[in-house]
């Protein structure tokens, strides 16, 4: 069995999730501070990839990053490299599609954060960065973890946008999802089903790992006061 799709899917999912982890935290943190109206509009825009069919997302990305378009052409002329139809092109598509999941979950977690803790930290002289990483993040750990897991799982299953922007070339740009689809469409159900099992196995491992992490560090008491 050609194991390339497994390697490819894992690295694309891992890199996308890594990038979106920080992007999601960044946007969730700063947007929560904006006035309500602006916050609402931005929420809609940033959640859009969740609502649009992935193929449409892929098509829009193609129009943005293709070699005929300003961004793609610039990259081509400066680096001699096409942004699309490579294995790493799928990272763009996957990142865009999983972003809303991380963003909204973390936003929710941050909104439930007790802001007086941050205020207290500030009056004690703690920098905002320290407060973010050492007080806010531990407090919101469960939400952040949930968002990351959701994003990773969705990244593994991403198909429509990936297919459009990276294509399906066996051994080059094939992911588990695009492989399963191609195998199924060409009546190779047995092999397709084996890949589905691989997908399930990966998800099981990830979820188990997350659960074990949770059990080792159970959520501590929230309230520090009377």
């Amino acid at each position: 069995m050609d194991w390339y799709p497994l390697l490819n899917s894992l690295r694309i999912a891992a890199i996308s999730t890594f990038v979106i982890f920080f992007a999601g935290l960044f946007f969730a943190y700063y947007i929560a501070k904006l006035p309500r109206l602006v916050k609402g509009v931005l929420d809609v825009v940033l959640t859009l990839p969740l609502v649009l069919p992935p193929t449409v997302v892929g098509y829009l990305l193609l129009r943005l990053l293709g070699p005929k378009r300003p961004v793609g052409a610039w990259f081509l002329s400066v680096f001699g490299v096409k942004l699309v139809m490579n294995w790493w092109s799928a990272i763009f598509a996957t990142a865009v599609v999983i972003f809303p999941l991380m963003y909204r979950t973390v936003r929710g977690a941050f909104e439930s954060f007790d802001e007086t803790l941050a205020c207290a930290g500030q009056t004690l002289g703690l920098s905002n960065r320290y407060i973010f990483w050492h007080i806010r993040m531990p407090y919101c750990r469960q939400g952040v973890l949930a968002g990351t897991v959701l994003a990773f799982a969705r990244a593994l299953g991403e198909y429509g946008a990936t297919s459009m922007i990276a294509g399906y070339t066996p051994g080059r740009t094939a992911t588990i999802s695009t492989t399963v689809y191609q195998l199924w469409r060409t009546d190779n159900d047995a092999l397709a089903f084996r890949w589905v099992l691989v997908n399930i196995a990966i998800s099981a491992v990830v979820l188990l790992a997350v659960n074990m992490l949770e059990r080792k560090n159970p959520a501590r008491g929230r309230k520090g006061g009377a």
């Binding site: 193929t55 193609l62 293709g66 070699p67 297919s163 294509g167 066996p170 469409r185």
Partner: protein
């Protein structure tokens, strides 16, 4: 202010949804007006069809039609369900509307999708009067008069007596408007593939156009698997993907139908000959289970009139023959 924002946001969402609306399924509403006949159109009035007529699979040019200008004698409303390959979407919709104008009691309802999907739907019992496939393969699979090789499941859904080839499509080689690898013919493509300097998009083996592409590669003595492993081929999961990738120059060329090229406004640099991949024939047949066989036959005959053919040819089809 909040209300305005809510309206704006709803509009944005609706626009996004509309942009992705698939073209595979369209329904046409019944026209109730009685319009005067158009001069150019000598459409057949409903003709009694016997099931012995037109059994051959060759193109049959029996287009004799009564040029009577009477309205339908049969005033009962009829709804015809037509399953047709996606490549015929625009043309059949247009012809369907024309037909319904002249035959107000008939409502034609289309379902457009890939031939494989349509065949599966018919197999699973979907209600259908007329089936037009983009390849013989799917029609064979439903034709009881075909041997076990062509019809492995022994399905018997179409009335073989009504089966007829109505259109020919050409397999076309398309390139982006910038034509970065300077490919102007299938021969150029062959050289480029052999030298490993090109990225080509094609349909996969489940899609008829993909199968034709495979035949072309074989004709040129190229090993598809080797090419794929060398990273020279990308398989699109549908035609839209392929046309998008060619339009955006994400790939250097693609192989699709002439009709797809026309819809996507792509530059066709070459079309495949009969030797390369055979002919792409679109057969049509009336379903055995159809409750409106006569109306279906009437519509089928209408589709084969010269004026209808003109509509088909305008988008890249050719008449069979």
């Amino acid at each position: 202010m909040k209300k305005l924002l809510a309206i704006l946001l709803t509009l944005m969402l609706l626009l996004g949804l509309a942009a992705c609306a698939s073209k595979t399924e369209q329904t046409t509403a019944a026209e109730t007006e009685q319009t005067a006949e158009e001069d150019k159109q000598d459409t057949a009035a409903e003709s009694e069809t016997s099931k012995e007529a037109d059994t051959s699979k060759e193109s049959d040019t029996s287009k004799e039609a009564d040029t009577s200008k009477e309205a339908e004698t049969d005033a009962e409303p009829v709804t015809l369900t037509v399953f047709a390959a996606a490549s015929m979407t625009e043309t059949l919709t247009e012809l369907g509307e024309k037909y319904m104008k002249e035959n107000p009691n008939v409502t034609v309802v289309f379902t457009f999708d890939s031939s494989g999907t349509l065949k599966t739907q018919i197999e699973e019992g979907a209600e259908c009067d007329l089936f037009i496939s983009a390849a013989q393969k799917q029609m064979n699979q439903l034709d009881a008069t075909c041997d076990a090789e062509k019809n492995p499941d022994g399905l018997d859904f179409i009335d073989a007596a009504t089966r007829v080839d109505i259109l020919e499509n050409k397999v076309a080689l398309v390139v982006p408007d910038t034509n970065p690898k300077n490919i102007n013919s299938f021969d150029d493509l062959k050289s480029a593939l052999e030298s490993g300097s090109v990225l080509m998009a094609m349909g996969n083996a489940d899609v008829p156009v993909g199968q034709y592409t495979q035949k072309i590669l074989t004709y040129f003595g190229l090993d598809e698997t080797a090419l794929a492993n060398a990273g020279l081929i990308s398989y699109g999961s549908n035609v839209k993907e392929v046309t998008s990738q060619v339009s955006e120059a994400a790939v250097d060329c693609g192989v699709i139908y002439a009709t797809d090229a026309f819809s996507a406004n792509l530059k066709v640099v070459d079309t495949a000959t009969k030797d390369m991949c055979g002919q792409v024939i679109y057969p049509a047949a009336i379903l055995k289970a159809s409750k409106n066989a006569e109306a279906a036959q009437a519509f089928l005959d209408y589709l084969r009139t010269p004026d209808s053919m003109a509509v088909f040819e305008a988008v890249g089809f050719t008449a069979v023959g």
